[in-house]
Symmetry: C2
Subunit: 211 residues, 2 copies
């Protein structure tokens, strides 16, 4: 049976709270996804601390010129990240620059194909981004659970690389995407829960049953 992994999007702002929640739910998650709100609030060192609990994905949605993107990716990996997220929209040269750094650290690169919140400027482009991600040898894509039909189409393009789907829970995404996803990313439904461990366990079990 295909295993769907649960990724915790840990978008809290306090170090102690982040570490507490991560420790609390670690049995049910495969990775911790860290974004700028947490890193800006308590310093990039939090990546290393969380990495002791579970592998960290630095969700920096890197979208800069290659020169700057490479530096940002390097800082993430040097601080212990196992993977970084880059915006495919930024173009092939940016993704290559990030991939080159990842190789040095034996790290992975996941490419955003489109955002859960908007397809306004992604229409007709996200398929091209997905193709590029495969061609360049990226390790996965980020695809929106808010548009399951898009995840299905993207799966047909990318084949067997990882497909990480955020947007289930607070953003109203559909669990239908478990048919195509390898990882489901959940944030607020866990970290804003009165009982994060119980919520993570419930989602974990639901994923196992649906699978």
């Amino acid at each position: 049976m295909r295993k769907i992994e649960l990724v915790l999007a840990l978008d809290v702002l306090e170090r102690e709270k982040a570490l507490d929640i991560a420790n609390d739910v670690k049995d049910y998650i495969s990775h911790i996804k860290v974004n700028y709100p947490l890193v800006l609030s308590c310093g990039v060192g939090i990546i290393g601390e969380l990495s002791k609990i579970k592998p960290v994905i630095a969700d920096f949605k890197i979208a800069d010129i290659p020169y700057t993107s490479e530096i940002i990716a390097r800082i993430a990996f040097e601080n212990g990240a196992k993977a970084v997220i880059v915006h495919g929209f930024a173009g092939r040269e940016t993704v290559k620059a990030v991939l080159n750094v990842a190789k040095e650290f034996d790290g992975e690169v996941y490419v955003v194909t489109e955002l859960t919140s908007s397809e306004e400027f992604f229409k007709g482009i996200s398929d091209k981004i997905a193709k590029m991600a495969v061609e360049l040898g990226c390790h996965g894509i980020i695809a929106p659970s808010t548009r399951p039909e898009r995840v299905k189409a993207l799966k047909e393009i990318v084949g067997d690389i990882k497909i990480l789907c955020p947007g289930i829970g607070a953003q109203g995404g559909s669990l239908e995407v478990v048919k195509y996803a390898t990882h489901i990313i959940v944030g607020r439904a866990i970290y804003n829960s009165k009982n994060p461990k119980k919520s993570a366990e419930e989602i974990y079990k639901k994923l196992s049953q649906l699978d």
Copy 2:
């Protein structure tokens, strides 16, 4: 005579060096643009420190869902940024979320229309992004000096809002864009110079003469 301002892109990694260079060149620049390499390396507090020298533009190229983008913008403004940079391709809702935070702080929002490094996925879209920036009441756009003809076209769309052009210097952009730009962003040609003050002065004078 129309005045073209010089913005220092301060992409060094050390706090002392950043403060030294900023102090050194402050007579020739209107703003300091700070990106993630510096903020991740020495903490978000550097924005407040640099703000005492010149107004800071937080070049976080925000490109996330509205919920996360709002938090990132808030952290930038709370730490003293005068403006933030958001990626237009992230969509209207993201730009609106950032604008709402900016209003609370009397701050400004500049929208990336396309990157200097790549037009791969921006073709046919950057004009729409520029239109959106004006419609939503953004304060400026970022446009690539590496493609002066694009800056010209974007200027026709956005009219009198600010046009900030990076890419002159290390990226090989054209000074032709001073015809359309309000701000020229220069990084490496100043901060990697043996004499940043002299280099900034030279660029400042060149901009005045060309103007």
